[in-house]
Symmetry: C2
Subunit: 495 residues, 2 copies
């Protein structure tokens, strides 16, 4: 099944556009008319600093987020304390049949201000740089990730309500302030409010799904991740306890560095690409027929050579072909060494037997692996293989998330793209990780990261969101209109 | 054979003291009388800064060393240019039957002046610190390593000549200025002057061989060392070529860190203590019966528990007993990781697939291994095991050195100790490394590091040489007298 025939299957869903046509046209017009105000709202939100890792502006940004939710029509809003930054909660009861959770982050990454073309928290409206998309952009930290798309979603909600006095779906807003820190307190929030949240029918994470060449890419899930720090040090199992020794003592003294190297090496084949930890891969479920269809469809448009150029690699791992590389990215658990260090790392020679060595590693997990179980299995592997001196100092992680491709929410998103004849690339999952499993697994809800916007620079310098563009299918109005369509489509499709 | 019976075998050698008794007593008296001047000479030498790694004072110190050799009676002295710091050469023709090479270093380690109790290049004569030996010390960089013992040797030579008008042996001085940099140009010097140097009968490296509890320790050799830096980086064999990637890409991209870890791991057993590189250990010769005797003798006085406490380890490697630990130190080739680094090494998490990883490793070599061959074997090992992407960026090293326990020079040194009823601990070799193989292997001469002095702090802070002591068998006069005895003993013993 190629991409064309796959999308053809969605034409039934596209018929949602037949509904409420008059309302919809009026809403679109309002969106166009009010662009200046909408842009201003995004700028205002970006200007409120909220760097979670530096604890800057978090309370203020939580208050601002709550104000936005109230203004958008939530009858119920609150700032819910957690062990860290609060969750901002909002409930917009539209007396609709369906309820959508909007998963939202109000924190942003830190900035290296010296690298930026304009100050990251001024959120200036500027011409797009020459290398970038045509038109005008908001440049600022959070413009893409995620204040821009989130505020655009609220703009869309406000215009729907202004035009119709209602909303096709009820909304629950779950706005966390620690996404960039690994969402340490979101599991607790979701667990506590599980009963209420479970009443929803899907979860939207507003984002920018468009590529520069006009395609829409979105994923039905994320790999999980579990990040651990391993440490070896001198102690009862041998090795220098207090400080490094002269390296000639190696003949008679155990080495913590060697132990770490051997412990790591015991986890993969010699190529460093195949995991050989007993039991770790047992839980991985096979791809479903539907996932394999999506894989084949996506593969037809996947450019292996361009991907390699983009990554700066001469070959894929183990020199496999493009098909196998994509299969691994989507369906395999990977084990990476993020960092390793021990002993003397300066220029020239220093002959020491170090007393300590460390490594940071991460596994990317696929259904039905879990982060907590992966840690248990790694610990068991170390013990069984005689590496009881290797400590797992700490870990954190996300489980994998996965949404049903046949769920109403996914079908609604595809229908929105189809209505604009936009090419869509649907990924079974992204290799990157997110806390979305809290919704897909704990609440058993489909989640999509979706939005017909274009942006870039997340986590880096000169982050931006395109707001005005020469072509119609670009820019803030188009992004907002996509959210309008998504809400109507979701409301009207059978579950 | 225990230490006592081993030493008893040396009483014949001790009879050298019957010779030239009148001269010897007069020389001892001169040494006592001239202590103030002798101490001053050492202070003067220490005060001449000569830090080779910082290129400070090297030419000046070479000149001073040459002046000393002339004053001591060398008919021939020269400053021989090399690709680095010059070698100072001296030839003292005493018309004697035997010739001794004095291997000498005129460079010293750098200093961290802030750590020192008194300025390291003032060479102050001060009371020994409370924790140290009783008496007075010269504190300064080079006081022990090696300006103090070397200048003490020259003092002894000058007093012999002053008293007798001659010297029992001819002396060749080979004074290098790059010992602390790994003696990069000494091989070339020795090679060029091999014909002349080969006429000598032994080599002395003047040092401080005494321990605080009044024993003499000396070794008949040094392990060799070969130090290499290994590197893996993205390239034709896979992995990111330009910069780190997001760690989720590990599923489809090779990792330079994994390759380095696996390449290292392929070199040892899981414990990190047994080398499994094909061919590396093949050249190791078995200990001779004489070496095994020395081992058994030394073992009787070797305190395993105290050694472990001193090293700060709970056990020896692989939890072996004291005998096996000492056997490994003396007779086994070891492989150490001095340092390893790659990727993110800061606090918390950063999810990256690094583009590069490095390790510094060193092998300690025993006869008949060689540094150059070890590098070849490591390279071959990497290629044969599919690690052709692991580069050996650079290496340097020393071959092992070994002196014949039955040589006249070794017997003369033992006889000197025996004449004072001092306990002697003779090591087959030290686990540490030195360029002495240039003499023992290239010139086939015995080399001893010897001197009845006491010092400490080499390479560290507050380096010192004991010069005045309450007990007679301590101090500079005793050290100088030991050199007098060594020269007479060496002259008189059959080869």
């Amino acid at each position: 099944m190629n991409r064309r025939s796959f999308l053809a299957g969605l034409t039934a869903a596209a018929s949602v556009h037949a509904q409420s046509v008059n309302d919809r046209e009026a809403i679109y017009a309002r969106i166009e008319d009010n662009q200046a105000a909408h842009i201003h709202k995004i700028q205002e939100y970006v200007r409120q600093v909220s760097i979670s890792s530096e604890n800057r502006g978090m309370r203020e940004c939580a208050e601002l987020t709550r104000k936005y939710l109230s203004e958008a029509g939530c009858q119920e809003t609150s700032i819910v304390n957690t062990a860290g930054n609060p969750v901002v909660w909002g409930w917009l009861d539209a007396k609709a049949k369906k309820t959508l959770i909007v998963y939202w982050m109000y924190d942003v990454q830190p900035v290296n201000e010296a690298e930026w073309t304009t100050p990251p928290f001024e959120a200036r409206l500027v011409a797009a740089p020459a290398w970038g998309p045509e038109g005008r952009i908001i440049r600022g930290r959070g413009a893409q990730n995620q204040k821009g798309p989130q505020r655009a979603f609220l703009n869309a909600v406000e215009e729907i309500r202004a035009q119709t006095g209602g909303l096709p779906v009820n909304l629950m807003f779950v706005c966390e302030g620690e996404e960039e820190m690994g969402s340490p307190n979101l599991p607790d929030f979701v667990e506590k409010h599980k009963a209420r949240l479970s009443k929803a029918h899907g979860v939207l994470f507003p984002t920018t799904s468009m590529t520069r060449d006009g395609k829409v890419q979105f994923a039905l899930g994320n790999k999980g991740v579990v990040y651990m720090e391993l440490e070896t040090a001198g102690g009862p199992g041998g090795g220098p306890k207090f400080s490094e020794l002269h390296s000639s003592m190696k003949a008679a003294v155990d080495s913590p560095v060697w132990r770490l190297v051997q412990a790591l090496a015991s986890m993969t084949d010699r190529g460093g690409n195949r995991i050989i930890i007993d039991g770790l891969l047992d839980r991985i479920r096979k791809p479903t027929p539907r996932e394999l269809e999506l894989f084949e469809t996506y593969l037809t448009g996947y450019e292996g050579e361009a991907t390699k150029r983009g990554l700066g690699v001469d070959r894929f791992a183990d020199n496999v072909d493009t098909r196998e590389a994509l299969r691994r990215l989507w369906f395999d658990c990977s084990l990476n060494i993020d960092g390793i260090w021990g002993g003397y790392t300066g220029p020239g020679t220093k002959t020491i037997l170090p007393s300590k060595a460390n490594a940071k590693i991460d596994f990317r997990l696929v259904p039905n692996q879990s982060a907590a179980e992966a840690v248990q299995i790694v610990r068991r592997h170390l013990l069984r293989n005689g590496f009881d001196d290797v400590k797992v100092n700490w870990w954190n992680g996300y489980d994998p998330s996965q949404s049903d491709p046949n769920s109403a929410l996914v079908r609604a998103a595809l229908a929105v793209c189809q209505s604009h004849n936009m090419p869509v690339e649907v990924m079974v999952r992204m290799a990157g990780s997110a806390p979305h499993y809290l919704f897909t697994r704990e609440l058993k809800l489909p989640l999509i990261q979706f939005g017909l916007g274009l942006g870039g620079g997340a986590h880096g310098k000169d982050e931006f969101l395109v707001v005005q563009a020469a072509r119609p299918a670009r820019g803030l109005a188009f992004l907002e209109r996509g959210f309008v369509d998504l809400l109507y489509g979701f409301a009207e499709l059978a579950a």
